[in-house]
Amino acid sequence: MSTISLHDTHHDDHGHGHHHETFLTKYVFSQDHKMIAKQFLITGIIMAVIAMLLSILFRLQLAWPDKTFPLLETFLGKWAEGGRIRPDFFLALVTIHGTIMVFFVLTAGLSGTFSNLLIPLQVGARDMASPFMNMLSYWFFLVACIVMMSSFFVQTGPASGGWTIYPPLSAVPKAMPGSGLGMTLWLISMVIFVASSLIGSLNYVSTILNMRTKGMDLWKMPLTIWALFLTAILGILSFPVLVAGVVLLIFDRSFGTSFYLSDIVFGTEILPNEGGSPILWQHLFWFLGHPEVYIVIMPALGISSEIISVNSRKPIFGYHAMVYSLIGITVLSFIVWGHHMFVTGMNPLLGGVFMITTLIIAVPSAVKTFNYLATLWRGNIRFTPAMLFAIGLVSFFISGGLTGIFLGNASLDINLHDTYFVVAHFHLVMGSAAIFGMLAGVYHWFPKMFGRMMNPKLAYLHFWVTFICAYLVFFPLHFLGLDGVPRRYYAFTEFEFMNKWLTVNVFVTWSAIIAALAQVAFLFNFFYSIFRGKKATQNPWEANTLEWTTPVEHLHGNWPGEIPTVYRWPYDYSKPGADQDFILQTTPFSETMSSNLPHDFEGNEEAERIQREWEAANKPVQE
């Protein structure tokens, strides 16, 4: 609390709260949560563009395995000798694409951006609990990004054992070129990244628990905050396990221990390691890895809950059910990791148990989907760009979620494991859905971040091309998986039965290229609007939550005067009897007598009595 009072006095001193800031303290080593959110977002966008370009490179190889692209050699040098991407570089591309997207874009870029931006603004706090740690969190993240990208400049190339880096492939440098220095950099980058994520998450949780404004009890928090809160808890509990696993792997690689290694022979060279188990890594990795996919999707679900409610001009249907299903997903996500390991040779009894827990997690997910649909029902839907992306998210979440029911079933997983079916599944449910959640958030809160509006028409173009192309890319891939085509194959030319999929690959690659070009519309719109967009009004979407009560011009401490008090939940849209179709959270019930409902008072008898008296007195007037 002392920080808050400090800020308060500070503002009194300076009137409008404008510090005498240098460029360095304002834009670089900023401790202001809004600036840190922007830093996370822009770094995330840059990483996303890099990851997207990598994906286009390997899609080129998959579509035209026999063609040469001399231009590639110009850019990639020995990795595309003679204009063809080399098999080991192909694996590096796949690996780094996955790593960047999962960790740097959809964990840090998504959760980092919106936790930083929205938590203080939506719970009514001047800043994070610890602004300095918040700054550290960003800088660790940036260092992690740089270390990861630096592996492209290493002679043996970046890590290339897949983003899950299963040992012994990742542990023994002679197993593949990418397991040399590139893998060491990957591991270092990941340790730094986890530090960033932990610092951030601890900050988010303590801010939400301790710094909510007056009246903001847990059941009045917007669903974005609930989602970001539970995401942060997931991160705190699961990321340290990854660090433990990574440290053991570093020991195996560099100090000759045998945590993951045993009975290994390369050709005739017998390695001295004895007693370890490669399966141990998989347990440690997926203990993080599975919660990780919920770390990716839950913020997106929270964001879309908020956006769908605002733009349907309707309260989110089943607010409590939405929160409980998020809590259910959080708890269950810790006991389902084994479904990634059905075919590792793990005890089949465990396979059965993990199948049960995995399919149970579909229930809260189904509840969320139905609640979204019910929110749209009889709404008055405004198709803002954010709303389009939120609707797209719901569609992807359904499509990708349903294929999860196949993969969560241990007996079906036997034939689908590590095929393109898996690729299609997670690219829809956590790739496209989470990216759409992130884009929805960017379009929705852009006015809050930059004080300007993005161009809606370019955004429509961006949405429609991306939405259609994402389906064109990922839907056909299911069928490759059902034909038994394994993922991470450099070329389909070596197997007779895969030849029939070559034309599909060409189609998918073209769709991917068009989707990638559509992102230019977003990038242009984003960067152009930062400087030249239309000036935003204070509450452009007519939303209820607290962030829209702050002035458009940013100031350190968010609110010029006192922090607002909260009286009601955030979803009073189109309430019968109200003058407007939205009622801010800061509006007391005494100002909205005509629209108050009995359950608004949560059993407060005094308030109910006053309301009854008012209604009795005003009834004739209303008639």
Partner: protein, 417 residues
Amino acid sequence: MSLRKLIVNKTMAALAVLFTVFSSANAFAQEAAAAATAKPVDMGPIHKSALFYVLLFLLLCLFIAIVGKALKVYELTRETQGKPEGINWNTVNAVLFALFLIVGLYGVYWEYTVHGNMILPEAASEHGKRIDEMFNLTLIITTIVFIVTHIVLFVFVYIYRSSDKRKAYYYPHNNTIEKIWTIVPALVLTLLVLKGFLTWRSIFYKAEDANNRPINIEVVSSQFLWDIRYPGPDAIVGKRNYKLTTAINGLGIDFNDKNSLDDLIADEIVLPVNKPVRFTLASKDVIHSFYMPHFRVQLNTVPGMVSYFEFTPTVTTEEMRTKTNDPKFNYILLCAKICGTNHFNMQKNVRVVSEAEYKEWLAAQTPYLTNDLRKAFNLPIPVEAAPAATEEAPAADTTATAAAVKLDVKNQLALKK
């Protein structure tokens, strides 16, 4: 007026950008062309074609920008004339969603019927049939949910598009409905879990049938090979010890184990139809995955750990060829776990044949044990094998192994006592 100026400015700017890009890229191309004299590939035309595509894209951007400006001009003129805004984007997007639904549903139908026909043929194994049943049940349920929820989603989106005449319906919750759509998915999933669990158990918990013992076959993976070991007449594959690996004993077979002496090398997997087989899976270096999609068989091969997969093939290769109408059809073993540079080409041919053909094939396979290995393991070298009488060598080996089997039986008896 200022607007027109703006357009002109924009176009001019765009043209300037185009021009600079063109000229600089052209210079680049010339430079590259000069460098290309040393190299066999002439980069000139390649740069030109790349440039062509870049220009094409810029042209598209310009076109979009012009359309955008035209729309803006249109809307502004409507505004100045005091008429309602020109284009109702809410309606446009709602209609696009409705169109997306219709085209999308057709697309899904097309995918299911066209690409759906290109997938694996029906399972060629006993347990595979149960997996296919499970798959079909899941597919039916999920397809229904997929179609219905998408229709609901996009129809709601279309019907409830924004309108000034309506107000949204304040409807925060309904506990009964929420209970229903919690319980119904839970029940459906219980059904799927139960069936899945029973299928899973039936695959991995096999009761031993003394009259129908499975054939033991060992498969050892390494970068990027599958080594296959069939048992000899004793029907048991001998032990391996990775520490015994040498240039002549690549798998590290322990020939001190009597069961190893008669083990046979095979360069393909041949299975008799309708007989259970039990694969013993191991790996030398990294994790690979033993994947035979037509039999619905997959299990990782993990160094330091031995795993087993037992199943019964039910369709011979010949039968499958007629079934799929593909005279070139072959069963295949591939690697499904990323394992290094040549992961994409780690295959082994698999044949399912009649019992008689299998016996004939097996008899033609040679044992792992060679004279060099005999020397290495201090085993007696059969006398006949030493001279150049190569044709008699296999026969000699079988007698030797037969003796070994007898020894082994004695050992086992001794153990039992």
